[in-house]
């Protein structure tokens, strides 16, 4: 199905969903699940939290159906919601960890949960490895890498989605890529 056909199908599904057709909305969810899963799991790693954010993405979309005018493609609109909710979830995680962190241990500030080390990495499948390696990137860099390299958005589209300059996208991408190459290189060296 090409882009125009997909947009026509989306419009049909949305029109029917607005009229209360639950099956039409389900079709939409099923169609875009893989795209949103790539974004959210890329940002948060696999688990209940990612599943929860994925659900919330579609619920927010459902709640804004009446306002949706179709200026942006459905996939892009959903991705924007997903990336914002993922960044919020990361922020929430960080706050939670700080709350439970003893003030005496400020030098050992908590980092996001990622890989515990090479031994754990060796037992993972490629998909899990990729997501665990992504968790080691700073959230801002991760968002750029996910949108550009997993989702295939262009630099311009990524800049628009994240509301940052194109130059910032390229510099974050460059640093993110370098870090990922370092992670995977260490992993190869370790095996």
């Amino acid at each position: 199905m090409n882009m125009t056909e997909q947009q026509a199908t989306d419009r049909l599904w949305i029109a029917r969903a607005k009229e209360g057709d639950e099956r039409a909305f389900r079709e939409l969810v099923e169609h875009y699940e893989s795209q949103i899963a790539a974004t959210v799991v890329g940002m948060l790693g696999r688990g209940d939290e990612a599943d929860d954010v994925g659900q919330e993405t579609f619920i927010r979309f459902y709640e804004s159906l009446e306002k949706f005018r179709g200026e942006a493609a459905v996939g892009t609109y959903l991705t924007r919601i997903a990336i914002n909710l993922s960044l919020n979830a990361i922020e929430r995680r960080k706050r939670m960890r700080w709350r439970f962190w003893s003030r005496d241990d400020e030098d050992n500030a908590p980092v996001e949960p990622g890989f515990d080390g090479r031994d754990a990495r060796a037992t993972l499948e490629n998909g899990e490895e990729v997501h665990a390696a992504l968790q080691e990137l700073k959230p801002d860099f991760r968002a750029v890498v996910v949108l550009r390299m997993l989702e295939g958005y262009s630099t311009k589209e990524t800049a628009e989605l994240l509301d940052i300059a194109e130059g910032t996208v390229l510099s974050r991408l460059s640093r993110g890529v370098k870090q990922l190459q370092g992670i995977f290189k260490n992993e190869v060296d370790a095996t």
Binding site: R26, V29, E30, A37, A38, V40, G42, G127, V130, S174
Partner: protein, 136 residues
């Protein structure tokens, strides 16, 4: 210079180089082995990320989304009703208090022996004397 080529390589991955940039990058890759190695690493990383990309959430995702929408709608309805009726609660309490005081005053003038509850809720007395009185 290398920074420019790195940026060009990133843009080459997304296919947004114009022909002149593309030619320049190709020439640079042909003459610089280190840069060529970087390009290969970049392509490998892109392939690895694409291959490892998540395809789905946990099973029955769409069904769980619609289920959660239903739950959210029920919660919204309850919250809406609460929002409507909450301001009425204090008004209703004032009216109920007024009625109770009124009942208490009237009862006191009719039947001095009525209990507080009987008086406030204007319940008919249930004593034997009262029952005989009602018979007559």
């Amino acid at each position: 210079m290398n920074t420019d080529y790195r940026e060009m390589m990133l843009r080459a991955l997304e296919g947004t180089l114009d022909p002149a940039e593309s030619d320049a990058l190709e020439a640079a890759l042909a003459r610089d082995a280190a840069l060529c190695g970087e390009w290969k690493n970049l392509e490998r990383l892109q392939a690895r990320l694409t291959e490892g990309r998540a395809q789905s959430f946990n099973p029955f995702f769409a069904a769980r989304v619609t289920q959660r929408i239903h739950t959210r709608q029920r919660e919204n309805l309850t919250e809406g009703l609460m929002w409507i009726f909450k301001p009425l609660v204090s008004a209703v309490a004032v009216v109920a208090l007024f009625i109770a005081l009124n009942n208490w005053n009237e009862r006191a003038s009719i039947d001095e022996e009525a209990s507080v509850l009987e008086a406030v809720f204007a319940v008919e007395p249930v004593s034997l004397d009262a029952a005989y009185a009602m018979e007559q």
